[in-house]
Amino acid sequence: MATTTGHPGRTLIVLAVLVAGLITLVAVSGNWTPKLGLDLRGGTTITLTARNTTGAGTVDPNSLQLAKTIIQSRVDSLGVGESEVTTSGDNQIIVTVPNVQQDELVRLVGQTAVLRFRAVYAAEQVQPPEPIPSATGEPTQGATAQPSGEPTAGPSQTAEAPPGEPSTQPSDAGNNKPLPALPTAPPVPLDKACVPADGKGTPPDKALDWQPTEACQAAFAEFTCETRVTEVADQGIFACNQEKTEKYLLGPTLIEGNQLTKAVAGIPQNNVNWVVNLEFNSEGAAAFEQATREISQKSEPQNRFAIVLDGVAISAPSVNEPIPGGRAEISGNFTQKSATELANVLKYGALPLAFDVSEVNNVSATLGGEQLRAGIIAGIIGLVLVVGYCFLYYRGLGIVVVASLGIAGILTYASMVLLGSSVGFALNLPGIAGAIVAIGITADSFVIFFERIRDEVREGRSLRTAVETGWRRARQTILIADTVTMLSALVLFVLAIGSVRGFAFTLGLTTLIDVVVVFLFTKPLMTLLARTKFFGGGHKFSGLDPEHLGVPALPGSRSRRPAVTRPAAVSQEGV
């Protein structure tokens, strides 16, 4: 028995070091509050589910990662700060943006970007609606478009076979922005003007023969870049470049972006200018060769094709010669940045992914604050109730409960702060609920332990011995109970979706902390307390007094009463 008493003081020192270490870490991280989830501070969470546009099958993790990057840059373009884009599971992207209530955000991240190659039928300079403020301050940003009608200067970019001569033409570098900034005006069915009366679309192989109707051309004259058009794959459309400095009348889709297998930015050998290299699959290569052969025969601007993403022409290079072999090179006045960005957009367009907006969750800052307040109030009420009950029932042992819960609280808080700053764990409302439920689960471990000690005392052991034997028996019950809780937390965490994971996480965390506290704090504390006169002697308020336990006298204590009095009294009732 004596061997299991161990060194309670030593164990407590270990725990003290652990707590001090955690607090030091928190101090070092400089963050004294846990990171709060959006439901507690207001903000928008959007869950996107990716699906393969090519049909069934799983989503390629690399594609998802790339899509995440693209969506992140879309969100960043809003300049909202502190936004977060993460992947979840094998096909979800979760976008969280604090304090932004804009509907624009949902539109921006949720849009399915399909990249399409279309032939240009008409191109026209337009005045930008208003000076576009330069977001990045780069000199190339907002540069005026090269007038495509001028004979001395061709279109801003050319596409050619890779070994071909690099273009030396001046460029407007019209692709600095990697992603289209979408107009906010609601879409109008202006593009209906180009839909033939029978409504029939034109398949890609006939797309080159497509001719705009007069009505369509008339509508094109009316079209301004402020008008949002819905892109229909097999119809002619109107589109603008990203700067809204040039508008295009484009034919039906020649090639879909998913026939693009590769898009990389680089500097060809013997050259100094950045280019973007494209590679098509065999089907795309054949279509591209045929398209470039026909287009290159035509005159400006019909010798150009446009690469359209989300209804915006992100690039409209001219073609000087047929490009066989499925490899093309877009050259222009690229910088490394602009070339890489164009390549990324092309890659994204080539992704066989479409995104559905699965869930939008929008909490106002007011509601967030209110939820946080409610959570804290619930925690305080719960804590007071539990502590009150423990004092009422366990008297002096209530101090052990308070102290243990206090240690558990410190450990939990510190872990949450640290997990917030290290792995981005954000405490949300279900998380707070998990922590509150954990108060009960943690206190239950003490109850099991205390009741065990009482059992042992009832069996006639002295308190000091009872703490040790009771602990040995309580230990396995506590461990299995915590295992079960941990198990449910794990299953929930792995399988649950969305914010409820926060509940599972805190529940698991607090369960672990419960084990630590019971082993490293409550047990050694009880061992030490059993040596005191107050507890070990069974003081009236210690919660271990004979009367409270219902035993005639505390075994091993001096104030032993005759053991027979009580059963005798009972027998009289019983007979």
Binding site: G382, L385, V386, A433, T477, A553, S571
Partner: protein
């Protein structure tokens, strides 16, 4: 409170004993009725799934609620220009929030319109209208994941239980109690018509863990008390299990009360301060489940376990031995053995103290015999008024937990 402590002691020694096992038919009947009611309400009314499972949109706006709030909001929705909003649910939360639930909306086209309509109606900025939107297919995915989680959890729990107890019957009883709690919780949701949300589901999965926890606490004690049952001549499995249940009763009440208190706090703040939301949903499921879990581990799991165990040949032998012994004791129940080192409780008690009926039915027999098993002190005192012999009686080996050591080692 110290009264409860004293009762705890008397329960522990068997001085006071409630026959949980013997009255099992009563508990089974109660539970059966509850389960039937649950299943009927489930079949009849079904569960009210939240929009998270069906897909839909939920808008919340702060406003001063008055009698016209709901009606005028409906009108505003109708005039919003978004089709098919007639089925929208409009209700108020507390006196300062209005909530609109609609079919699932297009996030870029329809949501802004509805938000604007609501904002206009209550006179705030559209950005202040909080909303959540769940796509229909997403909802079915969530449901699917939830069911998978439930199944995985049940399997894992069965495994853990099996490994921990290393006893098929204990595992089976624990699992049956678990399913019992699950059905009752779902039944209450169906009966009252509470909305089932993902938070509810999390709550349900958590209480499965909690219910198991309760059962583990009780079974741990049962296991301890029946350790020597095979060589026992004084107690059948049922009696030993009943003693165990009585012994952990106070502990079980305490763990349940302490577990439920924070949940009640959550439920209170969730319902009173926030009105709706994950806090309330979670707490409600937890509350129902914890109470049911405490009930089932004592009233369902243990009696079931005892019943199954009593069917084992070994246990039948023990029971037969105990019966034989008691029959023998009855023969000489007037013989006072003041010097015997192992006086045994006697079945004769049935006719004197614990059971007043002289025509014992099956259940009563069990009742009586368990009273004997637990009522050693009573027996010895009744028949051997001499306190000295009482203490001798207490010293017998097969009832080690029953006597304070101070009394045994006299």
């Amino acid at each position: 409170m110290s009264k409860l402590g004293a009762i705890g002691h008397r329960l522990y020694t068997g001085e006071v004993s409630y026959d949980f096992i013997g009255r099992r038919r009563r508990w089974y009947t109660i539970s059966a009725i509850l389960i039937v009611v649950s299943i009927i309400s489930l079949a009849w009314r079904g569960l009210d799934f939240g929009i998270e499972f069906k897909g839909g949109a939920d808008f919340k706006a702060a406003t001063q609620v008055n009698a016209q709030t709901v009606d005028s909001m409906r009108v505003a929705l109708r005039n919003s220009g978004v089709p098919d909003l007639d089925e929208a649910t409009v209700n108020t939360i507390g006196n300062n929030q209005v909530r609109v639930q609609t079919r699932t909306l297009d996030p870029t086209e329809e949501v802004p319109k509805v938000r604007a309509a609501i904002a206009n109606e209550v006179g705030i900025n559209p950005d202040q209208v909080a909303y959540s939107l769940i796509g229909a297919s997403w909802g079915s995915q969530i449901t699917e994941r939830a069911l998978i989680a439930l199944a995985v959890f049940l399997v894992l729990v069965a495994l853990v239980i099996g490994i921990y107890f290393r006893d098929a019957k204990m595992s089976a009883a624990a699992l049956i109690a678990l399913v019992h709690d699950l059905i009752l919780t779902i039944g209450i949701y169906a009966l009252v018509g509470f909305t089932v949300t993902p938070a509810t589901l999390i709550g349900v999965l958590t209480i499965l863990g909690y219910s198991l926890y309760d059962t583990v606490v009780v079974f741990d004690k049962v296991r301890e008390d029946v350790r020597d049952i095979r060589s026992s001549t004084t107690r059948t499995y049922s009696e030993a299990a009943n003693l165990a249940v009585n012994q952990v009763l106070v502990r079980s009440i305490n763990t349940t009360v302490i577990g439920v208190l924070p949940v009640a706090a959550l439920l209170f703040t969730g319902a009173v301060i926030l009105g709706e939301g994950p806090l309330k949903d979670l707490a409600l499921a937890l509350f129902v489940g914890m109470v049911s879990g405490a009930y089932s581990s004592i009233f369902i799991a243990t009696p079931l376990l005892a019943q199954m165990k009593e069917r084992e040949p070994d246990m039948k032998k023990v029971a037969a031995r105990v019966r034989a012994r008691r029959a023998k004791e009855t023969q000489k129940d007037r013989v006072v053995e003041t010097t015997s080192p192992t006086p045994v409780p006697q079945a004769g008690i049935a006719s004197t103290g614990a059971t007043k009926d002289s025509e014992p039915s099956n259940a009563e027999l069990e009742e009586a015999s368990s009273a004997v098993g637990n009522g050693a002190k009573k027996v010895s005192v009744t028949f051997k008024p001499d306190p000295q012999s009482h203490r001798d009686g207490a010293a017998k080996r097969s009832q080690p937990q029953n006597k304070p050591r101070s009394q045994r080692k006299k």
